[in-house]
Symmetry: C3
Subunit: 330 residues, 3 copies
């Protein structure tokens, strides 16, 4: 079963095939002929880009997509198959996933962290339960640990702008934000850059390290792909020579609910930081807090490729769904 819950769930050959297919589909500018492919998308959390791009991706390859929001569109879900359900949960994930698997050929699920201990969250229990009980391939539309479709779109965007990503000098730089954000996007971008063979520098204040297991995976994949990984808190040094800057905020692992210290406000990515780079293209997954994460001056200039990146969600996912659908035998 071809689940896609993390960037490493595709082999190198599969990843190349998916990205090349994405490029073909983007160039084609029209949907493929109608097929029988039925995609479902289940959102435990709000979405703009992901919902639209996933629906449109299914249509591009000739399928249909039906989106459901839990809460308004579904029953309250119980995650424990052995629970005695005499309280407020109404439907067990075993049946919810099982039913979706009878209605759809591929299921996308978004499920952010739900406030449990990180050691539990990082196993993506909800996504894995859908993968286990649905009987069909499950695509993560962002979990606690990874946002692999975003990673794929980021990879596609770098490939599109620079051709070769091997040894491409990329800096992922932390930014302030009023809330301590989850780490799925930085985890996936860093890992995806490693898989792409980039020379990656993670620039972040002390205390803002990624999960050690994720870092270990980034390092080993980077080595295997012929790239490199550095981590620094020296922002000027970290940005030096970068061709791509990926700006992103995230919270501290050791103080999960805590907002960033006001003393870090100058980590907003603006013109003076950009001057440190080698005329870098600036990326962000969106939504972006203007003038807190990235300055308007950059977002409104051609240094920013955030809209290309957002559009590529559609094409990367179309390539992915096309790949996965070929393995679906119904």
């Amino acid at each position: 079963m071809n689940h896609f819950l993390a960037p490493t769930d595709l082999t190198h050959a599969e990843r190349e095939a998916v990205l090349n297919r994405a490029i073909e589909l983007k160039a084609l500018k029209r949907p493929l002929d109608r097929t029988t492919l039925r995609v479902g998308a289940l959102f435990f959390n709000a979405s703009l880009r992901t919902r639209i791009s996933f629906e449109k991706a299914a249509e591009v390859i000739g399928g249909t997509c039906l989106t459901l929001n839990t809460g308004s569109d579904t029953y309250k879900m119980e995650m424990d198959p052995e629970a005695a359900m005499n309280a407020d949960t109404q439907e067990n994930i075993v049946e919810a996933a099982g039913v979706l698997g009878r209605m759809f050929d591929i299921i996308g699920v978004r499920s952010f962290p739900t406030g449990q201990a990180w050691e539990i969250e990082k196993t993506e229990p909800i996504l894995r339960a859908f993968a286990e009980h649905s009987g069909v391939p499950v695509v993560s539309l962002e979990g606690a640990l990874h946002h692999p479709c975003q990673g794929l779109a980021d990879h596609l965007t770098m490939k599109e702008h620079f051709g070769e990503t091997k040894k491409l000098k990329v800096a992922m730089t932390w930014a302030p934000h009023p809330k301590p954000l989850p780490m799925a996007v930085p985890n996936s971008f860093a890992l995806q850059s490693a898989l792409a063979g980039c020379d990656l520098t993670i620039v972040r204040p002390e205390g803002y390290d990624l999960d050690p297991e994720v870092m270990a995976s980034i390092e080993s994949e980077s080595a295997a792909a012929g790239g490199s990984v550095e981590v620094t808190s020296n922002r000027d040094l970290g940005l030096e020579g970068a061709k791509v800057v990926y700006v992103k905020s995230w919270g501290r692992m050791d103080h999960p609910g805590q907002s960033a210290d006001a003393s870090l406000a100058d980590w907003t990515f603006g013109d003076s930081a950009w001057e440190m780079t080698d005329q870098a293209k600036v990326m962000h997954c969106l939504p972006v807090r203007r003038n807190v994460v990235i300055s308007s001056s950059i977002l409104d200039s051609d240094r920013s490729i955030v809209l290309d990146e957002a559009e590529n969600r559609l094409w990367a996912q179309a390539g992915l769904l096309d790949h996965i659908s070929k393995g679906v035998q119904k």
Copy 2:
């Protein structure tokens, strides 16, 4: 006008045709060619299976389906055509239904009981108002008295698993639940089983009788179809020899808001109850409260056919919509 608000709204010949068409469409494994059929679905109450299966059913026969949730997607509706609407209701059902009838060829409506007296609720005033004012066929997606699409799917599932349903030994057995649930599903299952000619035993604690008018209809249809109906509070006896057990909770008609007495907790359907049957297949409309209504041990075994039943919502509704659409002249 071919409305479908209760199992008896189809003649025997129509029911057979709908079920046979459902079987054909399921075997085909791909949608029919695109038609002009426009289906609309209006939900006054939440849904998972029904929403998905109804949309997919419309697609299977080449049509489209647009789903609306009242509240978030629509204006607050007034049910009295003669009301002076100077308070909080914003749109009269006459216009709401009339407009939907101009936009769609067939309309599905879900409307649970709204807290009025049962003598009013059981007339399905909202469903009937849509039927009266829309000018197009209306399909109940569950009302107060019946859930006829569920009944049709249940019939299809029994036909699929047993071939012949006439004289098939079926037990519908009551189960505990933290809330006093509506009776639309048990009403429709019992009536549909009667229409299918089953030998039906309704197993329930004293005080949990179905509506007397519904019972009268079940008995007369059963006699006409060559089946039989028994009602018992002796669970062991009621389950004996059953080939199908339909487990379902419902509230007391004489104490509508009252939860089941704790002394009935042992009515949960588990392994020991199943041992009384003749290797029965276990059915439930879902969502099911695990280990309160049915034990996990049964749901996770091949004794349970609840997912087949859920999937058959799609195919039964596809057969139904195909049948109704043939009568639509626009």
Copy 3:
């Protein structure tokens, strides 16, 4: 770029072409062949008719439409591109519009007044921001100043019922309502009637004048199209000889939050008022408060053409989208 934010955003020739195309598509009774046209619809406010009719209009011309409700489906939007977004807004309209422009070929947006000063509201800041930042044509699905798709549907409905609209005697008459309603619909109907060359009488109590700039535009367009405009508070006189009566409530410009005085309750449009007209057809944009705005006796008779009008939303918008899509080069 062919935005459609006000009735005057089409030239006379374009308006004729759109309406004629609408009539053709309505007569055809089936969708055009599938195209690559991707329409998106973004609702900042609830909708029944508009959502359905806009989706169905896109389908009629072979395209697809994806609807998003802000709030439930999207992030909280910031309207100022230069804001330092460190409070509760999560996504700037620049990026929201930009992303939608990458996913869709045409975008519909509904945005009611948001409680700012009228001089700001009447510039339709949200609609114009989408027009500015999306890079694709934007269609108003109702703003503060205009509801131009409604105007187009009203025009189509009059054309359909009377053939020629030039010199057609039309009265737009104010009606009571529990709330002081926005003026987008009366503005657009009056302006559209002027563009259609009607002999328009606006019948309203003293103090209920339309915005002076809108009135100036109505008068000049009317003169150019060979029609006439009168305004009166004498209801009997104003209705005399009317072939069409458009009933609509709206609030006072000089007391924006104030409900209508109880002394105006007899402005409800009922049988005795209708007797003043020349057997007029009665129109209303819906939803209508029965027996407050228009009597049930009229709505339930063939004097009312409100359902034709609602249905024509679909066909007018199909004509419009077909027109706009021809200008879209992607």
